[in-house]
Structures are given as structure tokens and as C-alpha cells.
């Protein structure tokens, strides 16, 4: 692999991880959605670059899907949901920003160590790519754990999906079918979660997931 190809791929994947960190400290919903859209843009750039490097035309389709759905449709839809429901727009973290960022750093270090160990036979690009992808997945999960607001849980879930797509694009010869199905699964998840949010907010007048726990029938 030529030096420039590797550097650009590295830059874009690293950018994804950086934006995951940005997601972690956003405390306003609109800002969160904007950063998420930015992450999707970087993701589609990264996938497109992989398509160029690997000379795999179907990855351009994946990049386009990622851009269309994740950078445009989903953020717009969530904007609309927030506006229509009149959701309170500041986000309450369970854990403070400082400890969250430290935990995120530890997770990135962990995924680097794991990937450098177990994928030592793969080529360098794939190895770095997988390490960054795992970091994005773990940071997405971290976000789902530390946020109390249902919308930001949804965003965390979809940023986790971004990591999966990054990993899929990095692996050579990944069939298009898989990526399309991943994209559609995200869309389905959005629909389901959107409906879910409407229902929650209708019923409980809040999207704080904590409110759900109070209404569980099996509460002891």
C-alpha cells in the first residue's frame, strides 16, 4: 500500500474516533445531532476512500447509502421528532463529562491493544481500520450507558452502527448485500425507535428512560 493511501485512510478513521469523543461531551440535543451528521459524513468519506484504494466500486454505493441515510435523513427526522414532541433539549449525563472522556480514552487504548494482538497477521491498513472501528463501537456503547435521554441513546446506537460499517468497509471483499442490510437495519431501528419515542412521550410526557423504569409492571 502506498504511503498516501494509508495516511488518508488513517486520517479519516481517526477522525471518526475523534467525532465519537465529540459526541460524548455534547450536552444539547441539536448539537448532538449535528455532530452525529458530521460523523456520518466522515464515515461516507472514509468508505469512499476505501472504495478508491481497494478499487471496489460497490463500496461507493455503501458510501452513498451511509451519506444519504445517516448524514441527511436520520438527523433531519430526529430534528423533526424533537421539535414536534417539544423534548427538553439539554441532556442529563449520569456520569460527568470528565470521567466519561477518561473512560473513552481507556476504551480506545483497549481496542488498540486487542486489535494489534489478535490481527497481527492482517495487513496494516485493515489492522488500524479494525482498531478504530472497535473504538467507535465501544464509544457508542459507552454513550448508550452514560446517557439517560432516549434520543441520545438512539444516537449512541447509530454511532455504534457506524463503527460496524467502518469495519465492514475495511475488510476486503465484503459483499454489498451485507452493507445494504446493515443500512436498512439502522433505518428499521430508527423507525422503531421513533415510534417508540412518540409512544413514550405521549404516555409519560418525557423521553427520560428513567421514567420508564417507574412504570414497569414487574417492579418489586
Amino acid at each position: 500500500m502506498k504511503g498516501l493511501d494509508f495516511d488518508v485512510a488513517h486520517l479519516l478513521a481517526g477522525g471518526l474516533v475523534l467525532i465519537s469523543f465529540m459526541l460524548l461531551y455534547q450536552n444539547r440535543l441539536y448539537a448532538l445531532l449535528n455532530v452525529f451528521a458530521l460523523q456520518a459524513v466522515v464515515l461516507s468519506l472514509s468508505v469512499a476512500w476505501q472504495a478508491y484504494v481497494q478499487d471496489a466500486n460497490h463500496l461507493y454505493v455503501t458510501a452513498a447509502i451511509a451519506f444519504a441515510f445517516k448524514a441527511v435523513i436520520i438527523p433531519l427526522a430526529l430534528h423533526r421528532i424533537i421539535a414536534e414532541l417539544g423534548i427538553q433539549r439539554d441532556v442529563e449525563n449520569v456520569v460527568g463529562v470528565g470521567p466519561t472522556m477518561l473512560a473513552g480514552l481507556a476504551l480506545v487504548a483497549l481496542s488498540e491493544v486487542v486489535m494489534l494482538r489478535i490481527a497481527s497477521e492482517a495487513d496494516v491498513l485493515a489492522q488500524e481500520d479494525l482498531a478504530f472501528a472497535l473504538s467507535v463501537v465501544l464509544l457508542g456503547m459507552l454513550m448508550m450507558v452514560v446517557r439517560r435521554n432516549a434520543v441520545s441513546m438512539v444516537v449512541g446506537f447509530m454511532s455504534l452502527e457506524n463503527g460496524l460499517i467502518l469495519a465492514a468497509a475495511g475488510a476486503k471483499g465484503m459483499p454489498l448485500v451485507v452493507e445494504i442490510s446493515v443500512a436498512f437495519s439502522v433505518l428499521v431501528a430508527l423507525v422503531v425507535i421513533g415510534v417508540f419515542l412518540f409512544r413514550i412521550s405521549e404516555r409519560f410526557e418525557t423521553v427520560d428512560a428513567h421514567a420508564l423504569d417507574r412504570f414497569r409492571g414487574d417492579q418489586r
Binding site: 483497549l110 491493544v113 486487542v114 456503547m141 428512560a209 414487574d218
Partner: protein, 670 residues
């Protein structure tokens, strides 16, 4: 076609019969079809196994492309498995014969017919398997099929609980065997028995595998303290299945122990014999003590299985010791004793369970306190049962005496061992064995006396009628074999010598050439036994005594009311009961083995209520081991139940933490 292929086609035919039994269970001909088919297949496999045992010494491995992809399923029949195939198929054929008669009385045939042949097939597959995977798969198949049979009458009494306990203990035993095989297999994954033999593990690993095999196979065989399921599960099944489980399935467990400990691991330390001897002696004594306390006929027999397994394991312990100290002929003697007792026990235990089943179907009673006087209504059953009782009590000229005598001969050789621990332990084990043999005789005097002699205690016992001819045939064939093995034991010892030399690489001197069909385990100058002479002596003296009594006493006989001591119309309840028979022994051993509490509730003078005597019997082993275990499992379950009531975010955190933990483990793995 090799013998392995023939055995496998026999198993396949049994499985086909299981399917046919399941499909046609409601049809009137289903019982005849299944039991007749099983009888034919078992008889054919019995002949085949006999040919294998007597003719060829070594089988060749047959590999089928089944099971795990890189192993395949391996099958091989050597002399050891051929011997156990004889035992299993003899028992299976007898049980099928009994089943032919019992099928008409079965009220839920769909719960028995499919599983009976499947159970037989499972046991046969364990014996021909030659790699760990096939072995464990067949073993578990056998357990599940027998569990289904235990649950056949799941609505009666405690049967559902018995099935539950059995399932838990069977899974536990299989798990231990799984670990044992994992230790024996080389790290490269040599799960074939050949590979394990070729690359034996280090002594420490082999020792651990041995302990696990003792626990795993022992829990199936019923060694104390892993026996708790056995007296619950064996009586719960229909009687011919009880006979199969007690007489035959425990022998499959014994086979598993011999295969792993003698063949695959080989003794790798003198201490191996110590736990086997101690467990064997404890099992023999406690088994018979528990049996004495029972008044349920089938449960009494099940506890006796525990006792006999103890005797067999004493033989194995001695064989391990002799083999380790390089005394092949002594090891062969101990091994012959153990294997001969295995064979004998399968004969007389099947016979006794058939007898108990005949009594059960004739009277509807298992409780001895409700029986009595059956010898008048069921003379043939009573005779066959008496033969079984004499054989299991180790009375000459029957077979039980021969194998226990051989075990004692092996114990008498133990002073030649060069280990002080064993020199002291072996005679102590011998003393316990003698005690348990005496107690067994007491126990069967009680079982036969209370059930068949005296007067009927209930109407159902009074109106009993002789059982059907299939059940009688199923009882008289083992009874004849019991006598044959007791009268000409030399033939049987010679027949199983290939199996013995497979296990301990030594053999007893050939017995066929000795004059007058005697057997001499070591040398004729030291000790010998002639079953034929003993039999003739007993037969002649008994018929002389009978003729003398008939000539001089029969004419003087007059029938008078029994126990007519001022009470002209005494009720049958005044007879000696099973409880009263066991009472002296219960008093002696009560503190040791049982938690007994006797409470006498005596009315004050002037009160009109009757006095009451209450007796509670506990099981110390259950209280000490199983009750705390069950309690801790329950406590853990209550603690873990909290996981059901977390919030969404806590669930996500749990998943996240699990993922992170696994990744950290992966990163820090050496």
C-alpha cells in the same frame, strides 16, 4: 462384515424398533412387536458377543463419518466390551421376555414402548464406542432414555421427584466423565481411545482424571455418597425396566470405570487403590444397611444394587493395587472376582426384580407389610425368588458365593503387597465385606420371609394368582444360570479371562483342566472350591432330610390354629413384620448410619386411646451433603433473581461490562 458393523446394525435395528414403538404404541400388537423384536435382537447380539469373547481377542476400529468432523465416530469391540455386551444383552433379552407378558397390563404404553429399545440401544452403543465423543453421546442417550422410563408413571407418588433427582445426578456424572476425558486426551485433541492409550498423561493429570472417572462412573453405578438417586429412580420405573436399570445399566457404569481407569489411564500410583477400596467397602456396608431398613420390596432391591456395586469396586481396588505392585496373577484374580460378580449380579438382580414385578402385578403392592403367604398362591415365582435370594446372599452352591469367595481370596493375598497402608486397609475392607455379606443374608431372609411366607396380611395378597408364563420364563432362565455359574464356575472364569487380561494384562490359571470341575484361584494346595460337590452334598442331604421328615413326621402332622395362645382368632397383623425384623440391626447401627428417632406415646392410666410407637428414619448422607448443597443453590438463585429487575440502562451496562471484561481478558492473555 466385521463384528463392529454387526453390533451397530443391531443397535440401528433397536432404534428402528423404538421409532416403531412410538408410532404404533396404541395398537394392540405394539407390545408384542417391540418386546419380541428386542428379544430377538438382544439374543442375536448375545450370541455374537459370546463368539467375540470366546473366539477373537482383538477387534479392529471401525470409523464412521459421524459426530465431530475431525474425529469421526469410532467403534471397536475388544474382549472387555464383548464381556459386558454379553452381560447387557443377556439382561436385555430377559427383560424383553418379561415385557412380553407385562405389556398387556401397561396402561400407558406410549410412555414405555419407544424408550425401552432406545435404552437398550444406548447401552450397547456405550460398549462399542471407541472415542470419547461417541462414548459420552451414547452414555447421555442411555441416561435420557432411562430417565424417560423412570418418568413413565410420573403421576404416581414420588416418581416425578425421583426423575428430577436422577436427571440432576446423571448430568453431574456425565459432566465429571467429560472432564476426565478432557484430561486424558492429549492437548492436540486425541479423543480416540487409541490416541489416549498411545500418549498417557503425566501421573498427576492421570490421577485427577481417575478421581473424576470414579465420581462420574461411580455416580451412575451408585457408590455412596453418590447413590441417592438410585433407590428413588430404579423402583419408579416399570418392573422390567427396574431390572434393566439395576441389573444392567449399573454394569455399563462399571464398564466405563474399567475402561477409563484400567485401560486408558492405567494405574499411575499406588494410592489409586485406596479411594476405590474405601468407597467400595463403605458402599457395600451402607447399601445393605439401608436395604435392611426398607419395607418397599423394589426399593430394598435397589439398595442392594448399591451394596453389590460396593463389592465389585472392592475387587477393582484390589486389582489396581496388585497391578501397580507388579503382581499380575493376583490382579487377575481380583479382576476376575469383580467381573464375575458383575455378571452374577446382573443375573440375580434381574431375577429378583422380575419376582418383585410379578408380586406387584399380582397384588398391586410393593410394601412388604401388606404381603405375606404368597408361596401358596405363587409357588413358581416364590421358588425362583428364593433361588435369587440364596444367590445374592452368597450361599453355595449358587454363583454369588463364588464371586465373593474369589474376592476374599484376593483380600487374603493382600499381605504380600509392599505398602503398609494397603496391608492394613485390605483386611479392614475384608472385615466390612464379611459384615455386609452377613447383613445381606439377613436382609433377604427378611425379604423372602415377610413376602412369601407366613399368612397373607391383606386381601390383595390373599387373592394373588401366579404370574404369566413369560415372566416365569424370564425368571427361570437367570435362575438356571445362577445355579450353573455356581456349580461349574471354572467354565465362566475361563470364559471371561480374555476380558481380564485386557484390563490387567494377566490371567488366572486355566480352570478347565482341574479334576472334578474344581476351581483353584492360585494353587490347589492353597485353596480350592468345588461347586459341584457342594451342590451334590446339599442336594443329597436335603433330600435325605426331606424324605426322613416325610416318612416319620408327615403322618403326625395336624393343622391347628396358628398362635392360638388364648386368642382363638388372631389377625395376620400379629405376625412378625419387616420392621420388627430389622429392629435389632437398626438399634445397633442407628446412630452410625441413620438418624433414627423412636418415640413412644403411652396413654395415661385410664385413657382409652391406643399407645403409639413412632419411628423416624433419616439419611445422614442426605442431611450432610445434599441438603446444604440444595440450600446454597436456592440461596444463589434468590440472589441472581435480582438480575430480573434491573433498569434498561443497567442492563446495557451489564452487557457493556461483560464485553469490556472479555476484551481485557483477550488483551492480557499470555
Amino acid at each position: 462384515m466385521s463384528a463392529e458393523a454387526l453390533f451397530l446394525s443391531g443397535d440401528a435395528a433397536l432404534l428402528g424398533l423404538a421409532v416403531a414403538g412410538g408410532v404404533a404404541a396404541r395398537k394392540p400388537f405394539a407390545g408384542t412387536l417391540v418386546y419380541g423384536g428386542a428379544l430377538a435382537i438382544c439374543a442375536a447380539m448375545l450370541v455374537l458377543a459370546l463368539v467375540e469373547l470366546l473366539g477373537r481377542t482383538n477387534g479392529e476400529t471401525l470409523v464412521l463419518p459421524l459426530g465431530l468432523p475431525w474425529i469421526g465416530a469410532r467403534f471397536r469391540v475388544d474382549a472387555l466390551s464383548a464381556f459386558f455386551l454379553v452381560v447387557i444383552n443377556l439382561g436385555g433379552a430377559a427383560a424383553s421376555l418379561y415385557g412380553l407378558g407385562a405389556a398387556r397390563h401397561e396402561h400407558s404404553p406410549g410412555r414405555v414402548l419407544p424408550f425401552f429399545p432406545a435404552f437398550l440401544a444406548g447401552m450397547n452403543l456405550v460398549l462399542v464406542a471407541s472415542d470419547a465423543y461417541t462414548f459420552l453421546l451414547s452414555w447421555e442417550f442411555m441416561s435420557i432414555a432411562s430417565w424417560a422410563l423412570v418418568m413413565a408413571h410420573h403421576r404416581e407418588g414420588d416418581n416425578a421427584r425421583a426423575g428430577y433427582v436422577y436427571l440432576v445426578m446423571a448430568s453431574f456424572g456425565t459432566f465429571m466423565l467429560l472432564l476426565s476425558f478432557a484430561l486424558l486426551a492429549s492437548p492436540a485433541g486425541g479423543y480416540a481411545f487409541d490416541a489416549m492409550r498411545a500418549a498417557p498423561p503425566a501421573p498427576a493429570v492421570a490421577g485427577l482424571a481417575f478421581i473424576l472417572a470414579l465420581i462420574g462412573a461411580g455416580s451412575k453405578a451408585g457408590i455412596v455418597p453418590l447413590h441417592v438417586w438410585l433407590p428413588l429412580a430404579h423402583p419408579a420405573a416399570p418392573s422390567h425396566v427396574s431390572a434393566l436399570m439395576s441389573g444392567v445399566m449399573t454394569k455399563v457404569a462399571v464398564y466405563g470405570f474399567v475402561r477409563i481407569v484400567f485401560d486408558l489411564a492405567g494405574p499411575q500410583g499406588w494410592w489409586w487403590s485406596v479411594p476405590v477400596l474405601m468407597v467400595g467397602a463403605g458402599t457395600a456396608l451402607l447399601g445393605v444397611l439401608y436395604a435392611l431398613m426398607q419395607h418397599d420390596l423394589k426399593r430394598l432391591l435397589a439398595y442392594h444394587t448399591v451394596e453389590n456395586i460396593g463389592i465389585i469396586f472392592i475387587g477393582f481396588g484390589l486389582a489396581l493395587a496388585f497391578k501397580w505392585f507388579g503382581m499380575p496373577s493376583a490382579a487377575a484374580l481380583a479382576m476376575t472376582a469383580a467381573l464375575l460378580h458383575t455378571f452374577n449380579h446382573s443375573l440375580f438382580k434381574s431375577l429378583l426384580f422380575f419376582g418383585a414385578g410379578a408380586v406387584l402385578s399380582a397384588t398391586g403392592e410393593r410394601d412388604m407389610e401388606h404381603l405375606g403367604g404368597l408361596i401358596h398362591n405363587m409357588p413358581r415365582t416364590a421358588f425362583a425368588f428364593l433361588v435369587g435370594c440364596a444367590a445374592i446372599s452368597a450361599l453355595p452352591p449358587f454363583n454369588g458365593f463364588v464371586s465373593e469367595w474369589l474376592t476374599f481370596q484376593a483380600i487374603l493375598l493382600s499381605p504380600e503387597l509392599s505398602s503398609w497402608v494397603l496391608k492394613i486397609l485390605a483386611p479392614a475392607v475384608g472385615a466390612l465385606l464379611a459384615l455386609s455379606a452377613a447383613l445381606a443374608a439377613a436382609c433377604f431372609a427378611k425379604a423372602f420371609g415377610i413376602t412369601f411366607l407366613g399368612r397373607a396380611r391383606t386381601d390383595s395378597a390373599k387373592h394373588a394368582h401366579e404370574t404369566n408364563r413369560f415372566a416365569l420364563a424370564a425368571m427361570f432362565v437367570p435362575a438356571a444360570l445362577c445355579l450353573a455359574a455356581g456349580v461349574v464356575p471354572g467354565l465362566f472364569i475361563d470364559a471371561l479371562s480374555p476380558a481380564v487380561s485386557d484390563a490387567v494384562s494377566g490371567r488366572m490359571p486355566a480352570q478347565a483342566g482341574i479334576a472334578w470341575l474344581s476351581i483353584a484361584p492360585i494353587a490347589e494346595s492353597r485353596s480350592s472350591y468345588n461347586g459341584l460337590l457342594v451342590f451334590l452334598f446339599i442336594a443329597i442331604s436335603a433330600s435325605l432330610a426331606a424324605s426322613v421328615i416325610h416318612r416319620f413326621a408327615s403322618n403326625a402332622l395336624r393343622r391347628a390354629p396358628a398362635w392360638d395362645c388364648g386368642f382363638p382368632d388372631s389377625s395376620p397383623a400379629t405376625q412378625y413384620t419387616a420392621e420388627s425384623f430389622a429392629q435389632p440391626i437398626r438399634r445397633v447401627f442407628g446412630g452410625l448410619a441413620f438418624v433414627t428417632r423412636e418415640h413412644i406415646d403411652m396413654p395415661e392410666p385410664g385413657e382409652t386411646r391406643p399407645a403409639r410407637f413412632e419411628l423416624t428414619l433419616g439419611d445422614r448422607i442426605w442431611d450432610l451433603i445434599y441438603a446444604p448443597l440444595a440450600n446454597s443453590v436456592e440461596r444463589a438463585a434468590v440472589e441472581l433473581n435480582r438480575l430480573q429487575f434491573l433498569t434498561i440502562r443497567q442492563y446495557l451496562s451489564v452487557v457493556f461490562a461483560a464485553l469490556i471484561t472479555l476484551l481485557v481478558m483477550l488483551a492480557s492473555w499470555p
